[in-house]
């Protein structure tokens, strides 16, 4: 290899342009007075004003946040406990089964989870709606939390625990003073992932949502399907992207410091 090939760099640049051009145009169009977005019609903030005045959208945002927060709390607790079990008791027969079952939500296509959940909710006569969506979101989020926390545990230096115990700390003190502070970045990262997955989920939510339980992605989908208020979706996307970028970048910086 005397001369380096240009193909790797060219491909990398092409892929990044491919990733960001649609997003950039969406952002630009959110300030575009022309409603079709194919040409520039002058600057405007009217789509943002319409977005803030849209009652349905606020209702959907509220539902998404309620489900996002509750399902994150529950799935983080269960997922963390699952990761501990997999780590501490690794190799037992129960953990072998547990590991396989925990992996399943990561590999099963969403539509199959959606229809399975619909079937069980119908069978037990659980009304479709916010509570059903909450149960569904906990089901797929806990595995992601467990995997993130588990990878943090696997990097953990187990001799620290022995050292603490040698110095006379009991199990509770060791857990609180040594283990928890060291793996808490993993738990926070898992919770952040769970929250994002919950707020973002469309497919599974669509199967188990009922009247009045519209979440943000379901609301946006129905607006797109009925071609209603399309330009305000540009404004919504821009705001959501700014929020996500800020959260992801700060968490990246946090985890680098940790």
């Amino acid at each position: 290899m005397t001369r380096t090939s240009r193909i790797p760099l060219a491909t990398t640049i092409a892929i990044l342009l491919f990733f960001y051009i649609p997003i950039a145009i969406l952002v630009v169009n959110s300030f575009n007075a022309s409603s079709t977005g194919g040409a520039w019609g002058g600057w405007t903030l009217k789509w943002y004003q319409k977005l803030f005045a849209n009652e349905e959208m606020w209702h959907a945002i509220r539902n998404s946040l309620v489900i996002g927060v509750t399902s994150t709390l529950v799935s983080t607790a269960i997922g963390t406990s699952a990761a501990f079990a997999l780590y501490k008791y690794s190799g037992t027969r129960i953990q072998k089964v547990h590991g396989v079952v925990l992996y399943m939500p990561l590999v099963v296509p969403e539509i199959l989870m959606g229809i399975s959940l619909l079937m069980i909710f119908m069978a037990v006569r659980l009304p479709l709606g916010l509570f059903a969506i909450f149960l569904a979101h906990v089901t797929f989020s806990m595995s992601y939390v467990a995997m993130v926390v588990l990878s943090r545990l696997q990097d953990f230096d187990a001799t620290l625990i022995e050292a603490a115990q040698d110095l006379g700390a009991d199990a509770w003190l060791t857990a609180r003073k040594i283990l928890l502070p060291l793996i808490s970045p993993g738990i926070v990262a898992g919770a952040l992932l769970a929250f994002t997955l919950s707020v973002d989920d469309f497919v599974i939510t669509f199967f188990v949502s009922g009247p009045g339980s519209t979440t943000l992605p379901v609301q946006v989908y129905s607006m797109i399907k009925h071609s209603r208020n399309l330009p305000i979706i540009n404004a919504l996307s821009t705001l959501m992207m700014v929020a996500t970028f800020v959260i992801v970048l700060t968490s990246q910086r946090q985890s680098r410091r940790a």
């Binding site: 990398t12 969406l26 977005g37 008791y89 399943m104 399975s116 707020v199 992605p217």
Partner: protein, 287 residues
């Protein structure tokens, strides 16, 4: 029972019981309902029947199944092919650039999926910017259609699945010993030969993981063909959703889901088999 055992059960029970109740049991229900009759209320009937499964032989389904498979395979092939050079570049560049590229790859995919598909809908729209540019350059007829075609479905599927190919392939490329490429060149291999016979076999584990990470969700795709595709680009997922939401024939939806499960099992079993044969190196990466 020892306290250790008791503690293990306490830590394991919440997730194991939850996933049994909301994942394992419901999956078995879907498989069973494929053998049931629909009831007129849009629920599941009590009678057992093979008629639902037999109706999958209806001429429209083999075409849809075939299309599902080829659209997923094409998406996977494109994603893997373009990820290899990018993974190579990321693995060989400096630490700062690498970290920056990693963030840039993941960042768009933290935003809402529906909104990402919507971005493409407005780009490919008959009055959208891509069409206007193509017409201005004389590369497209003003009456041509970009949106609601199989090409649009493929494009948006590649867009949404690409990071899931880049990340595992990069994880393998990072561990690859690049002196092997120099050795190949010293022994007279051209650059193309060295890449094909040394680099690609060397990052095999990452490529297999990437195929799995793209192919499985692609097989179950339904939102993308629903939003940017037309009737001629529908996949199994669309049929499942239609049976549930439009004409409410749940046993039929379950039979289609059972078929989809079979297709998903194929690549998964092949992957596990290849992994067992090839040892356990590589393929681990974080989201």
């Amino acid at each position: 029972m020892s306290t250790r055992k008791l503690r293990e059960i306490c830590a394991t029970a919440p997730s194991l019981v939850w996933l049994t109740a909301f994942l394992l049991v419901p999956t078995l229900m879907v498989l069973t309902f494929a053998f049931k009759k629909a009831d007129p209320m849009g629920g599941i009937g009590t009678e057992w029947t093979f008629a639902t499964l037999r109706s999958l032989a209806n001429p429209s389904y083999p075409a849809i199944i075939w299309r599902t498979i080829w659209q997923s395979l094409a998406t996977t092939a494109i994603c893997v092919a373009v990820s290899i050079p990018m993974a190579y570049y990321m693995a060989r560049t400096g630490e700062r650039t690498r970290r920056f590229l990693m963030v840039l790859t993941i960042l768009p995919f933290w935003t809402c999926f529906i909104l990402r598909v919507f971005a493409w809908m407005s780009l490919l729209h008959p009055h959208g910017i891509v069409k206007n540019i193509l017409v201005a350059l004389g590369m497209a007829d003003p009456s041509s259609q970009l949106l609601y075609t199989s090409g649009a479905v493929l494009l948006v599927m590649v867009y949404n699945h690409l990071p899931f190919a880049i990340l595992p392939i990069y994880a393998s490329a990072e561990k690859f010993d690049y002196q092997l490429l120099e050795a190949a060149a010293d022994l007279g291999a051209t650059r193309a030969t060295a890449v094909m016979r040394v680099f690609i076999p060397g990052i095999k584990a990452g490529i297999f993981a990437a195929i799995l990470m793209v192919l499985i969700p692609a097989l179950g795709e339904y939102v993308i063909p629903d939003m940017v595709g037309g009737p001629a680009s529908e996949m199994i997922g669309n049929k499942i959703a239609q049976r549930v939401q439009n004409d409410r024939n749940l046993p039929h939806a379950c039979a289609l889901s059972a078929a989809l499960m079979l297709f998903v099992m194929g690549p998964m079993v092949a992957y596990l088999f290849a992994r067992r044969k090839g040892g356990k190196e590589g393929g681990r990466f974080s989201i």
